[in-house]
Each structure stands twice: as C-alpha cells, then as structure tokens.
C-alpha cells in the first residue's frame, strides 16, 4: 500500500491525502490530481515508512 502525501510547499509539513495499492496507481493518481493541490508537492510513500522531505 502507498500513501499519497501532500507536502506543503512553504512549511514542508506533510499529510496523507489518499491511499492506493500499487506504485503505478500512485503515479497515475498524482498525475490526475496534482492541479487540485496547488500548494502541495505531491509524492507517494509506502505505508509505515517515513517520507524524505528536503
């Protein structure tokens, strides 16, 4: 399982906004929805892992 995360462009805080079951789904979901989150950098991360935010 992968969590789609929104990383705030300014504060760099992140939150889970969606969950999908494969990496392909995660990539496609981000491509389809990135315009809905203009304040976010969208990425995906496996459940239980800590995302790299730099």
């Amino acid at each position: 399982m992968y969590n789609i995360i929104c990383i705030d462009k300014i504060t760099k805080e992140w939150r889970v906004i969606h969950t999908v079951s494969s990496k392909r789904e995660a990539i496609e979901w981000i491509r389809a929805h990135e315009s809905e989150y203009p304040d976010c950098i969208l990425n995906f991360v496996r459940e239980g892992f800590e995302p790299i935010i730099e």
Binding site: N43, P51, I52, E54
Partner: protein, 263 residues
C-alpha cells in the same frame, strides 16, 4: 592511481571531513533505474572499492572509494519492505577481497518510494560488523564502522541516502563531468524521523536494548538524484574542485612528458 587519492584527499580536507566516501555515479544510475522500476520488492547489492587511511595527518581520517558493485538477490522473508543478502554472496565478496581486487565494501539497497531508511535498515547496519566477522578478511573489516550503508529511492523525486552511527562524513558522488558533495547530519535535525526511529526500534526489536540506545545516534546524507543528473553543483564548490582536478591533470601531463624524455 595515486592521483585519484590525492584529488579525494584535497576535497576531504576542504570539507574538514573525518571520513570521505566517494561513489561513482554509474553505481547511483544503475540502482536508480532499479528503484524506479520496482514496486513491491527492495533490491540491492554490495558496493566494492578501496580505502586509504591517513594516520599521519594532523588528525587521522579515511577515504573510501566505491567504483564497482555486485547485485545480489533479496532473500528477506518480507522482500517488499526489507532487504537481506544471501550468505553465499557475502562469501563471494570476501573471496574477491582476499584475492586483492578490493579492500572496502558496503551494502546498498533500493526503496520503491522516497522513504528514509527503515529501522530494520539501521539494525542491519548496526549488526553488520557482527554479520561479516566470520567471513570477510580483517583488512576489509578494519574501518567498517566508518563506512555508511546506502539506500537509493525510486519515488517522484529520487534520492541517494547514506546512513551510519558516526558523527561527520562527506559523500562525494562523481563522474568525469559532474559531482555532488553532501555532508552528513544527525537524525536529531529531523524530529519526525527521530521520533519514528525511536519508537519503531522498540516495536520491531523489543529485546535489543543496545540498539534502542544507539538508534538515535545515527547520521545521514541525502542527495537528490536530479541534482546529479542536472550536473547541479552545490554553491561555491565548482571552481575549487575543478581547480584541484586541473592541477592534478597538469601534474600528470608534466610527469608523462618527463618520463617520455627519459626514454
């Protein structure tokens, strides 16, 4: 070649590094492709190279240069979330070291998304010297506690991460036309990561009290793969490093001319 070590030594001195870890870009490129392509499996292998230890300097320090790799199967019971190497592959690496082909080695594995090293990854690093003690020649184990393990991630961004429980080192990713220098930082600099590791160490390894104490002593480097691909060079590095390399080339040219004259 001695010139290679001289370039690395001068770069390490510039960064006041106790330890300089040099990784050829080919290695990063290879494992980046794998990390991008994989979904439900971590993959990895051993990085192979050489080291030089400067014991006579004002303070002793180490350079390790990794220029080769062997990919090995992931024999973990949970290959989708952890990486484990087969014992026979470690023996093969030990044989190459015994034959004098390499003197330094370390472990690298991939993550399919842009996530930090897991607490299981840190535990492998923490126990690595014990894991290899019966197999690998002493020469290659001598400075193992100064050599980080690596993770290459295959998410939207892509990162090269290194980690070990040592205070300060510098990773130098390079090829002939591009390089990236990254200094280590403590997990204390990332409170969320620190908290995550602190608790997960107790959940995943409830009886390893020594590890509970050590897990927050870890330091790490993070480099964006795109920074390498775009030949991004961290501010102020360019002229100094290029000048060092040009000086070395000039010295080599003069040495070749001198030897030609002697023929």
């Amino acid at each position: 070649m001695a010139e290679r070590w001289d370039v690395f030594r001068r770069i390490g001195e510039r960064h006041k590094a106790d330890v300089l870890i040099v990784i050829d870009r080919d290695i990063v490129d290879y494992f980046t492709d794998i990390a991008k392509a994989t979904d439900d499996r971590e993959m990895g292998g051993f990085l192979l190279g050489d080291y030089v230890y400067y014991s006579g300097s004002p303070k002793p320090w180490l350079i390790a240069h990794f220029h080769d790799y062997v990919q090995v199967p992931n024999v973990s019971e949970k290959p989708e979330t952890t990486f484990a190497f087969p014992e026979e592959s470690l023996r093969e690496v030990a044989d190459m070291i015994s034959a004098g082909r390499y003197s330094a080695f370390t472990l690298l594995h991939t993550h399919p998304s842009d996530s930090f090293f897991s607490v299981e990854d840190l535990h492998v690093h923490y126990r690595f010297r014990l894991l290899i003690s019966d197999v690998v020649p002493e020469e290659a184990r001598r400075f193992q506690h100064f050599i980080p393990h690596f993770t290459i991630t295959g998410g939207e961004v892509g990162y090269a991460v290194s980690y070990m429980d040592y205070l300060h080192w510098v990773c130098y990713y390079y090829d002939e036309s591009a390089y990236l220098v990254v200094s280590s930082k403590s997990v204390d600099s990332n409170p969320e990561l620190r908290r995550h590791l602190f608790w997960m160490a107790r959940v995943k390894f409830p009886d390893d009290f020594e590890f509970h104490l050590g897990v927050t002593d870890y330091h790490y480097t993070v480099a964006k793969i795109s920074d390498l691909e775009e030949i991004f060079i961290r501010g102020g590095e360019t002229e100094d490093v290029e000048r060092i390399i040009e000086e070395m080339k000039e010295r080599m040219r003069k040495e070749i001319e001198r030897r030609l004259r002697q023929l």
